[in-house]
């Protein structure tokens, strides 16, 4: 696996030569690429070898080894549960979904229930835009097989690598569950927003409670999924409306703890990531980029798009997702 920041012309050449690629960048650049074995999504934020950066003139290309076979396809909202039907035996699948789309919400809420979703590595990200363009410019995804741009649905790249590589999908979450028992929440229903949560078995208005406790909402809620730490990030606390919005859904039956305070994000990623990352497909979260002030800082050897949500089987927040094609 090779990660490169390429000009439009260089990326087009790779596609024409038959390269299998995941491509991130400005939508107007992606729209000019030729058809081929690729999928793409919009973002202008990247972790590069030199550190976090805004990049509008080049495309971040993750290029799979020569001989890799791939099928790119578009899946509309109503067919999202068919994502695993494209899995290639022994392969891996990439998925990109536009932020704020119906597919984003549907996949986040229902994805874990799709039949056979967990049977092989599925990773990807939520495409975005420059933060100053939210509400003005729509995040988009591209199906390289047709060259079509989509503002909703999902694009998939089902991949089978040529050598006996065993794809290993994992996450790096620098957050741990905090220990304050007053900041342990459960929710009565699934949703990207909540008015009521339970704390110590009693209903509270979540917005009022977070405000009263002066909770640092740059820290995510962290749930323990059988040993995997899964974050849900705060989007907005509206005290007047009594409502809290999240960047991923909360689910009933899950206990969420506010994350323990975080020091230096870049240092935490480097410490957990070690020396690896250069030859992996990875993406990291825009909230880590912002809250961790990652512009100009590196996260170990990991490079890739900075995204409006990460996918490792399910939608994640404030998490680095990585795919290793081990020899």
């Amino acid at each position: 696996m090779k990660n490169e920041l390429l000009t439009l012309e260089e990326a087009a050449e790779r596609i024409a030569a038959g390269a299998v690629m995941s491509i991130a960048g400005e939508a107007n650049l992606l729209a000019q690429l030729p058809k081929g074995q690729w999928i793409g999504g919009s973002t202008v934020y990247f972790m590069t070898a030199q550190g976090g950066a805004v990049e509008r003139t080049r495309l971040f290309c993750s290029i799979f080894p020569e001989g890799t076979q791939a099928t790119a396809r578009y899946v509309p909202i109503e067919a999202l549960s068919s994502i695993p039907e494209g899995y290639k035996s022994g392969g891996v699948s990439l998925v990109i979904i536009p932020a704020f789309s119906q597919a984003h919400a549907r996949f986040a809420q229902d994805g874990a229930d799709y039949p056979h979703l967990f049977d092989q590595p599925l990773l990807g990200w939520i495409s975005g835009v420059h933060l100053e363009e939210i509400g003005v410019v729509k995040p988009v995804v591209f199906d390289g097989a047709t060259g079509q741009r989509h503002e909703d649905g999902a694009v998939l790249l089902h991949i089978l690598t040529a050598h006996a590589a065993e794809p290993k999908l994992d996450i790096i979450n620098i957050f741990q569950q905090g220990t304050d028992e007053d900041l342990v929440f459960t929710f009565p229903e699934v949703g990207f927003g909540a008015t009521t949560a339970q704390v110590h078995g009693k209903d509270v208005n979540l917005a009022a409670y977070l405000t009263e406790k002066a909770v640092d909402t740059r820290l995510p809620l962290v749930a323990n999924y059988a040993g995997a730490m899964i974050n849900v990030s705060f989007q907005n606390v509206d005290l007047a409306a009594g409502k809290v919005d999240f960047y991923a859904p909360v689910f009933p039956g899950v206990e969420y703890r506010l994350a323990a305070p975080q020091g230096d994000y870049a240092q935490s990623f480097s410490a957990q990531a070690g020396a690896g990352g250069a030859a992996m497909l990875s993406c990291n979260c825009i909230l880590n980029y912002l809250y961790g002030a990652l512009e100009g800082k590196t996260t170990g050897g990991y490079t890739g798009p900075v995204t409006f949500g990460e996918i490792a089987y399910i939608l994640l927040n404030q998490t680095l997702v990585k795919l290793e094609l081990a020899a």
Binding site: D119, K168, A226, G227, Y313
Partner: protein
């Protein structure tokens, strides 16, 4: 590899972490546990779904040999 139902039931009936498991297995087990807590009669269906997953996913299957 054959995995007996008792082990699958135990995995789905306890809240214990599976630290050595691949991410896919942790996420699936977590989802099945929630479903079973909400509806205990789903245990049989959960065991069948987990068994099917182990047939399909070699990394998850490998970890079961060590449990």
């Amino acid at each position: 590899m054959s995995v007996n139902d008792a082990l699958l039931r135990r995995i789905l009936s306890t809240p214990d972490d599976i630290p050595s498991a691949p991410l896919a297995l942790k996420l699936l087990v977590n989802r099945l546990r929630i479903q079973i807590r909400a509806n205990p009669s789903f245990l049989t269906g959960g065991v069948a779904e987990l068994r099917d997953h182990l047939r399909q996913n070699p990394q998850s299957r490998a970890i079961f040999a060590t449990l």
